[in-house]
Symmetry: C2
């Protein structure tokens, strides 16, 4: 059933995501890993990131605008996104009241609400400090 192999690319990508100062995108990871493995390709970075996500070692945060960001924090948590620079920061999970979900289920024709996607937005400290509106 085709075991996944251990390669230096995979190790380097995982290490890069883990040491990233913020949730990095594929390009950042690529540039970072390139210093170690100069001829690694972007395609490989994407494939490895997908593999690591599938194995549950990292999480992919797909964004409506801009590239996917990768998150080495595998604990349950939510995200707050800077509306200026797009940076994403972790926040602890919150529990939505059950009656709220029940209201949504009733209002829709859907039999069950299986997913709740909750994300926050604001201005991150560094954007707030540097730019004025």
């Amino acid at each position: 059933m085709a075991r996944s192999r251990q390669t230096k690319q995979k190790a380097a990508v995982l290490a890069a995501v883990r040491r990233a100062p913020h949730h990095p995108d594929a390009k950042w990871v690529y540039e970072e890993v390139s210093r170690e493995i100069p001829n690694i390709s972007l395609g490989t970075v994407y494939r490895v990131l997908a593999a690591l996500s599938a194995e549950g070692l990292i999480r992919e945060c797909r964004q409506a605008d801009g590239p996917s960001l990768y998150d080495a924090n595998t604990h349950e948590h939510l995200h707050i996104r800077c509306t200026r620079c797009g940076r994403i920061e972790d926040v602890p999970p919150v529990q939505l009241p059950d009656e709220l979900l029940e209201a949504v289920r009733k209002a829709s024709a859907f039999a069950k609400v299986e997913e709740v996607r909750l994300e926050f937005g604001g201005i991150c400290p560094s954007c707030a400090g540097i730019v004025q509106v």
Copy 2:
């Protein structure tokens, strides 16, 4: 200060979005309007959709995967998305408890939580009826 002009393309695009059975994407609108205005271009559809959004006549729902969907419902509301077919349906807005937002603000370094992005997922009735897991 450069008024926006009235064109048949604009009228046709707005009408198409309004009569769409589900929140349509640009391609659907393009195909629909093409029956009326055979030589309309996809680029124009995108430009008109953007203009209508800016004027507040429709809303654009950017999606992390898949194309933007356009929504003729300008009342405040939320969305539930079918995890199978990607269709989006409207649900009434819900109010998150203030103390929940306050908790998020405190947990993050952000000074203010300005946006709350809340979206639900499930299996839509027609997918539920046709496919079994």
